[in-house]
């Protein structure tokens, strides 16, 4: 922190003509975007070799602010676009920014199949538990009993644990972090970017204007502070003196495996066919 090296300046990586961004005051997505750009900066990834693909929704808009190659694609399909892009251009670092509704509801099938293929991609799912942009409808990750515009008496559906889903579907790298800990989130995204297969990172973000306000969760600062009481690094998850409570949110790297990467396997098979 106190080194003489110049500290990362996020503004070097933004399209300044697009700023200020469209996100509401206190929205956690800004911090997530900073962590992503910081990770890219620290890994020295050439911006010409970086492709950011995003879907629809608040999270989907983030790609527009990144000064790199960016795609703003259709609802729920960023992983499908990114799969094609990563297969055609294996030299690129493909990063998908998607929201909880975009990734788990509309694009749910794309997610599980991307996990299954284990193609080299980094999928950043910004989970704010709501469809913020379209007016605050219930999403697959909305906690039970929470109020939204479509659940005026409280959400009665059980919610998704996206990390458990990605792990079960076979993703090579699964992690979760809250936006409050930007440096830790940066480290997690860095680890995801360096993973040779499919990396799924769930970023627990805040929707202050639509979700927080409806559920009486206080100001944006209070929502950020709330994250701290809920998170628990996975290292302590099942320790003897601290048994896992179902209300806690494990963070950190939750799963990692070294399954074969799909793109390399596909290219090897194609080369073998061509050689015959």
């Amino acid at each position: 922190m106190f080194s003489d090296a110049p500290h990362f300046d996020v503004r070097d990586y933004l399209r300044k003509e697009m700023m200020p961004h469209f996100l509401c005051p206190g929205c956690g997505h800004g911090m997530a975007l900073r962590a992503l750009l910081w990770a890219i900066h620290e890994l020295n990834i050439d911006r010409d070799k970086l492709a950011v693909v995003s879907g629809i929704g608040c999270a989907g808009r983030l790609s527009a602010y990144i000064d790199a190659n960016t795609f703003h694609t259709t609802h729920g399909r960023p992983l499908a676009y990114a799969t094609g892009l990563a297969l055609a251009r294996p030299d690129l670092h493909v990063v998908v920014i998607t929201g909880d509704g975009d990734c788990l509801a509309i694009g749910g099938n794309h997610l599980i199949h991307a996990c299954r293929r284990n193609l080299k991609l980094t999928c950043l799912m910004l989970n704010n538990e709501i469809y913020g942009m379209t007016g605050g409808q219930v999403s697959p990750t909305t906690s039970e009993t929470r109020l939204t515009t479509t659940t005026p008496h409280g959400n009665s559906e059980p919610n998704f644990d996206a990390c458990a889903l990605a792990t079960a579907a076979g993703a090579g790298f699964v992690g979760r972090e809250v936006t409050r800990h930007v440096p830790k989130l940066k480290e997690l995204i860095k680890a995801g970017l360096q993973h040779p297969g499919f990396a799924f990172v769930e970023v627990v973000s805040d929707c202050t204007e639509v979700y927080g306000r409806k559920n009486d969760m206080g100001s944006s600062a209070e929502m950020v502070l709330r994250q701290k009481s809920e998170m628990r690094p996975s290292a302590y998850r099942d320790s003897v003196d601290e048994p896992f409570r179902s209300t806690d949110l494990p963070t950190g790297i939750l799963a990692q495996n070294n399954r074969p990467e799909y793109g390399a396997a596909l290219r090897a098979a194609a080369a073998a066919r061509a050689a015959k």
């Binding site: 106190f2 503004r11 200020p20 800004g30 900073r34 944006s220 600062a221 209070e222």
Partner: protein, 315 residues
């Protein structure tokens, strides 16, 4: 161990030494340090060695503060007959300190006229000694110099054992460097020291610990040869380059979410009349960058200027 075997072992192995020649009184060794430095290992090695010599050994310790970086001490008393398990003030023959301030804290326990003080110059500053979170701020840490301490005790050695151990590749071997220094004072036979140290340190670190032991032993021998320059000055307190934090706030990007205002640990930000984040107490700002990291609108940029500059928030 019964008294009969004590006598036999004593006759068989012990040689007349600096402290255990008289044998009427037990030898008192006080080992102090900070949790996690290895105080208990030093005392275990010493106690086991003395026991192998057939002495009666009493050891009492306060430990368990390792996680908090708290004070740890261990009293080791050995001799033909030992009654009390603890060392009274002014009764310690040798005081081994693994940390500079801990050594000074326990100095009154040392014998004024004959006591030997062996201290690592490593400084571990406890959190409550920091009066301000600003790096480089003055601390309430011991200010005594090695020269002042040397004037107070009969024989004093200030070793930078931590640095020596670091150069060997493992900072945690500093306690064994001090054990090597202790070995020159107590004069149990060298092979026995080495055997006991090897038995107590983790198997993977035997090589580095043997080297550390040798280094500590040789350092004292060299220090005895040239007494005037023997006392190394304690390492200077780590002082960060003085800098002045300066906040660059892009007014047009700020959306008045108040996250920076409410989460600043020093409470030095506020919203101005236009509901734009403003630094109101620049003298309190430590440049921790929390506001920069948590601003969702990228409106804050913290600069750490090397020399004292104008403090206003830019733009």
């Amino acid at each position: 161990m019964n008294e009969q075997s004590n006598v036999v072992a004593l006759n068989a192995t012990s040689e007349p030494t600096a402290f255990n020649a008289a044998l009427a009184e037990p030898t008192n060794v006080l080992i102090v340090g900070v949790g996690g430095q290895g105080v208990i290992l030093v005392s275990k090695v010493l106690a086991s060695l003395a026991q192998a010599h057939g002495y009666e050994v009493k050891q009492s310790e306060v430990h368990g503060m390792a996680k908090r970086g708290g004070t740890v001490f261990s009293h080791v008393r050995f001799g033909p007959r030992v009654w009390s398990p603890t060392i009274a003030k002014g009764e310690a023959d040798v005081l081994i300190a693994l940390e500079w301030a801990e050594g000074l804290r326990w100095l009154p326990h040392l014998k004024r006229d004959t006591g030997v003080f062996i201290c690592d110059t490593k400084r571990i500053v406890p959190p409550f000694a920091c009066r301000s979170r600003r790096p480089g701020a003055p601390m309430r840490y011991a200010t005594e110099t090695a020269e002042q301490v040397a004037a107070y005790v009969s024989e004093a050695y200030a070793i930078d054992a931590t640095k020596m151990a670091e150069e060997l590749g493992n900072e945690r071997a500093a306690n064994v460097v001090l054990l090597g220094a202790l070995s020159t004072v107590l004069e149990f036979a060298l092979p026995e020291w080495e055997k006991t140290v090897t038995a107590f340190v983790p198997k993977k670190t035997i090589a580095v610990n043997s080297a550390a032991f040798e280094l500590g032993r040789n350092w004292i021998a060299e220090a005895k040869n040239e007494p005037p320059s023997a006392d190394a000055a304690p390492a200077a307190a780590p002082v960060h380059a003085p800098y002045q934090p300066r906040l660059e706030i892009t007014d047009a990007w700020c959306k008045s979410c108040e996250i920076c205002v409410k989460l600043c640990p020093e409470r030095c930000l506020t919203l101005n009349a236009d509901r734009i984040a403003t630094l109101v107490a620049p003298e309190k700002c430590t440049g921790c960058r929390l506001c920069e990291w948590l601003c969702p609108d990228f409106a804050i940029r913290v600069h750490l200027d090397p020399e004292a500059p104008a403090m206003e928030a830019a733009q």
